[in-house]
């Protein structure tokens, strides 16, 4: 199943990379000039999102560096444990909206911990959680930063609600299957 999808992704990528220029050429588009003109924007877009990324990542960096994340996890663990979110997975759930690489690192930790591993309840729950939620703050910073939108309105609330739903659904499914 996984290989089928990976193969399909590879072919679709190929189709886009080669197909678009070929189609354009057939339609009489000056493909090289058009490509260069479009690509010119790439650097400007990346530079435009830098302040937005620095703002959120510096704040998250200070938060995690200070150990506030661990403290929060310690406070919440007695409450969330009985609900099906064990203390080992809780830090991951807290980090997930803030940092994708951070939560993936924590998932790797769960897999490597003796007595847990990828086939334990914690390992499976963490896997589902990682795959069903997104780095909301990164998405908002990049996409809003690229167009200079600073007032996100309800986008943040909706995104965090989606993350919370992903978490609750992951726990319900994991409990039903492996609890």
């Amino acid at each position: 199943m996984r290989h089928v999808f990976e193969l399909a992704s590879g072919y679709i990528l190929l189709l886009l990379l080669v197909g678009i220029p070929l189609y354009g050429f057939a339609k009489g588009v000056k493909v090289y000039e058009a490509f260069v003109e479009g690509a010119k924007e790439g650097f400007a877009v990346a530079v435009r999102i830098i302040p937005f990324l620095v703002a959120i990542l510096a704040a998250v960096g200070a938060f995690r560096g200070a150990g506030a994340m661990d403290a929060l996890a310690r406070v919440l663990a007695p409450v969330t444990g009985p609900l099906g979110l064990p203390a080992e997975v809780l830090p991951m759930a807290l980090v997930r909206p803030l940092s994708g690489s951070g939560s993936l690192g924590l998932l790797g930790n769960i897999f490597a911990t003796p007595g847990l591993g990828p086939d334990s309840y914690a390992g499976r729950l963490g896997s589902i959680l990682q795959g069903s939620t997104e780095t909301t703050f990164y998405v908002l910073s990049v996409y809003c930063g690229s167009v200079g939108v600073v007032k996100y309105r309800h986008a943040l609330a909706a995104g965090l609600l989606a993350d919370a739903t992903g978490l609750v659904a992951s726990i319900c499914i994991a409990r039903a299957l492996w609890g």
Partner: protein
């Protein structure tokens, strides 16, 4: 966002003082700031490649065709976006790339979509309903097959690396539905 920013920093300061490790707060912030620039600069190459391809697609009329084809699905979700608008095809490409796990293609398409939606924005700098809904959809992980997680499980010698596939799809679907419903309901109350 102002509140989130201040809360993160205040909590960092409090935790740093209580733990007696105030230096770690500053170090964390510096590391984060550096990481932000590294991430953004790392995007330049792939971003330029996809934006170049998009320009060809636009000149060839492919973007407009795509927008018309996607209209039936996108019209109820994004009623403010006119028919055949390039924002629709950019959003479609972004969502398709996300579903396939082509993360480095999804970001340039998403940025293009935001740029096109910003052209329709009467109040530049404040997210429109369409932008907020598009962002909400993007914050639900759309990837059909979580290849990174499966690979990590396989490398940790799981007996069933891909066994989390269907459960993940179920949880993702729930998150996506809530993202759309929340965006649609909240847009009425949020100024």
């Amino acid at each position: 966002m102002n509140l989130v920013f201040v809360l993160l920093l205040a909590a960092a300061a409090v935790a740093g003082v209580i733990k007696g490790d105030v230096k770690a707060v500053g170090q964390g912030a510096f590391d984060g700031a550096t990481q932000g620039v590294t991430l953004a600069i790392g995007l330049v190459g792939v971003m330029s490649l996809w934006l170049g391809l998009l320009k060809i697609a636009e000149r060839a009329g492919l973007i407009e065709k795509l927008a018309r084809a996607a209209r039936p699905i996108f019209r109820p979700l994004f009623p403010d976006v006119p028919e055949g608008h390039p924002a629709i095809s950019a959003m479609l490409l972004n969502i398709a790339a996300n579903m396939l796990g082509l993360g480095n293609a999804a970001t340039p398409f998403g940025i293009k979509a935001m740029e096109e939606l910003e052209k329709l924005n009467p109040k530049p700098g404040t997210a429109t309903n369409a932008q907020a809904l598009f962002l909400a959809i993007n914050t639900a992980s759309l990837q059909i097959v979580p290849t990174t997680v499966i690979a990590l499980r396989a490398s940790a010698h799981s007996s069933d690396p891909a066994g989390i596939l269907l459960p993940t799809m179920g949880a993702t679907f729930c998150a996506l539905c809530v993202a759309i419903i929340a965006a649609k309901l909240l847009q009425r109350v949020w100024p």
